[in-house]
Amino acid sequence: MDRREFVTARKKTAQSRTYETNETARTFSGLTPYNGTWTSNEVIHLLKRTMFGSTPDDITYFLGLGMNQSVDTLLTVSATPPAPPVKNYNNTNIPTSDPDYNIPIGQTWVTINTTDADGQRRNSLKAWWMGLMINQERNIREKMTLFWHNHFSTETNDLGRMIWAYNYNALCRKNVLGNFKQFVREMTLDAAMLRYLNGYLNINTAPDENYARELQELFTLGKENDPNYTEDDVKKAARVLTGWKINGTTNTYSFTAGQHDTTSKQFSSFYNNTIITGRSGATAGDLELTDLINMIFSKSTEVSRFIVKKLYRYFVYYKIDSATEANVITPLAQLLVSNNWEIKPVLSALLKSEHFFDVVNQGCYIKSPVDLVVSVCREFTIVFPNATDYVNAYNMWSFMQSYAALLQQNIGDPPNVAGWAAFYQAPQFHETWINADTYPRRNLFTDTMIGTGYTRNGQKIVIDPVAFTKKLSNPSDPNILMNDALRILFRIDISTASKTALKNQILLSNQAQDYYWTNAWAAYISNPSAANYQVVYTRLRDLYKYLMDLAEYQLS
């Protein structure tokens, strides 16, 4: 039976609901650990959500681990950060007096300040980041780094100094599975954030409310609560946060006691009329910040629900109906609180749940631009220049990053502090990625990568459809080939009639006998001459191109 029937059948002992007949709940499944079968279908679903795409090799690897060990593996992230970006650009437009000038190509720039090289460094940072995603390890780290960047948004275009952008990125990566409360504190004092939301301009004689507002509205509490924090709370929080500065030499925060508001700040009834005692002196900022964060997090129900919903929408689906609210959001939020704001147990519970593996939650996620671009690179194992060939590797990663930007997801520069609309804007959410401009461009991207590819500096990156096909279980049988490829590339089944039509029209060039393909493949395998290669290459290229042009391919 197909997977949809299977899951529904298994659940008949509990409830029996279909998507169509019950508007308040697409499913009643919750956090009970999933104990159904562990097949490539479940593996691919898990990988496409927690990583970027599901490569044939990764599928094999995780299939062998079973569900629990797979999720545990995905949630195991080394404490060692990856090597920072390096100088991949030359000294054109950098005066000899600038400190960046003397950095050799291949050495990192993150420790040396510059005046003139931040433009080049921005590209370097983005290319490096894209490279980390394309070369990701078998864990959730890069997916979560992107999540936190979207959550605690900053824009490199507003930062001026890319060392701050790098440090901010590293902070997100360090905290992927860390303590959320601690993370909020660290983010408040991050140089990029201080710059982006004017924290460094927030002084006792002229408080700036920017960060104080977003801290509550976007980073911790959200706007849905009733009652909620008030405008006055924003003003008071701004005063709590006065006095912080950026140290331009060390690129970290510093505190100027003389610019800190030393008065006591009373908050609204939402915060139980809490008073944060005014402090003075060098420790004032720290102490009041601790109080502020404690106060915000004392609204543990609101904060936990807010962040859990964001995680849910990022990994599962944007629609949170009342059943999902009751069976998933509420218990996960409680788990976050009872685990003292540790993110990892929450993700573990979600990713191991019946709800996550529920068939109604499979295949319904529109790939973000980064998801699409990186998964194409990974699933087809596009060969990039060696990472130590800095100039060329960064060039190619930069191309991928630019394309994702063209599709409206420019990493490092979301549209505004709220992040990308697809992750929060009701009612469309991820549907905003797809419009009359972006959808054709998505097809242009996949058409280009399977066609001419991209060439720069004598290096070419392109999908090799024959290499991909060789990884499938039995490429000489065109029916098995179609099924294997579709299993990896699509999350929605297509009918047997459609598979047959595609097989006949593309793999068999409108002949009706499977052996034409089998013979062509066998001829190529036994003698990979240019002629034999061309026969199978053109057909596989046309097949995968066609599949990637279909709407089904946009779903994850």
């Binding site: 319904c364 242009l444 409108n510 779903l555």
Partner: protein, 525 residues
């Protein structure tokens, strides 16, 4: 840009042969706007070409039967041979006739609206379906691997930079249309495919994607439907096609249970509906008749007979409909198949893969009759004997391009990759050309073209990373002329020194961000 594959089919301007003779227009200089316009812009012509593909390898010997070699024919394949008294006679010749099922084409032939070209093939024929099909579609030599199709190259030359900037006011319609779900190699340009697939011109559900399953009733299906809706809305060509189709409310009668007729009916409808699309491709399969090609008791019936009937009835109905709709003067058609079949039949009442085979041409402007002699059939045909070629299929293509679409010599050579003999298959003076509007769409040009040792390439960039690569017809990059970042928009020139390269066609590919454009250049000796 257009999401779906579109056939890029263009007709360069100027009746070069009548005006200039053999001298390519370009050598007369680029200064004259008229000349420039003639060289660089599509002609405003209403001529249409219909390509009818027979998939599997049509048994040409039983389609166009050699009456003047009948005894050898019968001796070679008695178990599948058509009885002599059943062969359909063709006016003006007693040497050859048609399969008994082809009464429709017989009528057309006798009216001077259909013609036969005998033994069309190419040197060193390939017997593999896949490879042979690629050869017919790419118009390559049999030992050459060309990544583009002949129609695709032609359209790429005529509509540079496609799909960027299309549709536009001077070309609102698809450049070429394939009836069916998947566009073939024929329409592949040097970079992108130029063809658009249509299964049903009115029903949007099928228009975008001939292979489209109903969305499942689930959140995944819900999102899938959303994406398809956006796809539909962005498919501007779909609207144009649908509008054209809806203008035609009556057509004449077509045979039922005839998939080729169904396809040709759509073509007639779109032609009448006013699309400026100039080439359509239709196809039927089932021609790989290795066994039971005929019924043992009556060889005029059976699998091949049914296909011949389907072909003939469909084309006749199509021609009648074009007349009914009043657009018969606009359409010219040809049939083709990847190869013919073996002279000697096998013992399974069938025939195996062969070589040359006849091509049937149809239309008001067909230069009628039979071109060429009956195929040579040895008296004691062995299993290895094949019909030798009399005409290269690329001559047929080239003749249609130059006589029906008025392509000048230089362009013809870059599209067909070589010079080919011109065949008298189109009535004289069929070319009509008007002076087109100047277009400033070219981002890359070269001069002189053709050239003997080097040529100057001029290009425009918007700034950012820009590259120009020289690609040969096999798709290999043989030189990189430009590969750098420009700080802002501008126009630049670079010399391509081709002294060490052989004569032939080369493409200069400009890449600037998401923009790509290809310029076909011709090096001559």
């Amino acid at each position: 840009m257009k999401r779906r594959d579109f056939l890029r089919y263009t007709v360069p301007a100027a009746a070069a042969t009548t005006v200039i003779g053999n001298i390519p227009i370009r050598t007369m200089g680029m200064e004259s706007p008229l000349i420039r316009a003639l060289m660089d812009n599509p002609t405003d012509t209403d001529h249409v070409l219909v390509l009818v593909q027979m998939n599997g390898g049509n048994d040409g010997l039983n389609m166009v039967i050699p009456i003047d070699a009948y005894s050898n024919y019968m001796a070679a394949r008695s178990n599948v041979a058509i009885p002599q008294n059943k062969i359909l006679a063709l006016a003006g010749t007693s040497k050859t006739g048609l399969h008994p099922s082809m009464t429709g084409i017989q009528t057309l032939f006798n009216e001077g609206k259909a013609a036969v070209v005998q033994a069309v093939g190419y040197p060193n024929p390939d017997f593999s379906h896949f490879r042979a099909t690629d050869i017919w579609m790419s118009a390559s030599d049999s030992n050459q691997y060309v990544n583009s199709g002949w129609m695709g190259r032609y359209l790429d030359n005529e509509y540079p930079g496609f799909p960027n900037g299309y549709p536009n006011s001077s070309m609102t319609d698809p450049l070429g249309i394939q009836i069916g779900s998947v566009t073939s190699l024929t329409f592949q340009g040097p970079q992108v495919s130029m063809g658009m697939s249509i299964s049903d011109p009115v029903n949007f559900y099928n228009l975008i994607n001939g292979v489209q399953d109903p969305a499942p009733n689930s959140p995944a299906g819900y999102e899938l439907t959303y994406i398809r809706t956006v796809a539909r809305q962005t498919q501007q060509y779909a609207d144009v096609v649908k509008t054209a189709a809806l203008k035609v409310t009556t057509q004449s009668t077509y045979p039922t249970n005839n998939p080729l007729a169904d396809q040709l009916k759509i073509v007639a409808r779109l032609v009448k509906g006013g699309l400026k699309t100039r080439v359509y491709m239709v196809s039927i399969g089932g021609f790989d008749t290795h066994s039971t090609q005929v019924n043992q008791t009556d060889t005029t019936t059976g699998a091949h007979a049914s296909l011949m009937k389907q072909l003939s009835d469909a084309i006749k109905a199509f021609m009648d409909d074009l007349k009914f709709l009043g657009v018969q003067k606009r359409v010219y058609g040809m049939t083709f198949s990847e190869f013919g079949r073996r002279i000697k039949s096998n013992s399974s009442l069938g025939t195996d893969h062969g070589a040359a085979a006849p091509v049937i041409l149809f239309g008001e402007y067909v230069a009628g009759g039979v071109l060429g002699n009956s195929p040579t059939i040895p008296g004691n045909a062995s299993v290895n004997d094949n019909v030798p070629m009399q005409y290269d299929f690329r001559s047929v293509y080239a003749s249609i391009l130059s006589s029906w679409f008025c392509v000048d010599n230089t362009t013809l050579q870059t599209v067909m990759l070589k010079n080919f003999q011109s065949l008298p298959i189109v009535k004289a003076n069929s070319c009509n050309s008007t002076i087109p509007d100047l277009q400033d769409k070219l981002l890359i040009k070269n001069s002189p073209n053709p050239f003997t040792s080097s040529t100057m390439i001029t290009f425009k960039t918007d700034g950012g990373h820009t590259s120009i690569m020289i690609i040969d017809t096999l798709g290999r990059m043989i030189a990189t002329l430009v590969d750098q970042d420009y700080t802002g928009p501008g126009q630049y020139s670079v010399i391509f020194n081709a002294e060490k390269f052989a004569a032939g066609v080369y493409y200069a590919r400009l890449q600037n961000g998401a923009t790509q454009q290809v310029r076909a250049m011709l090096k001559v000796k």
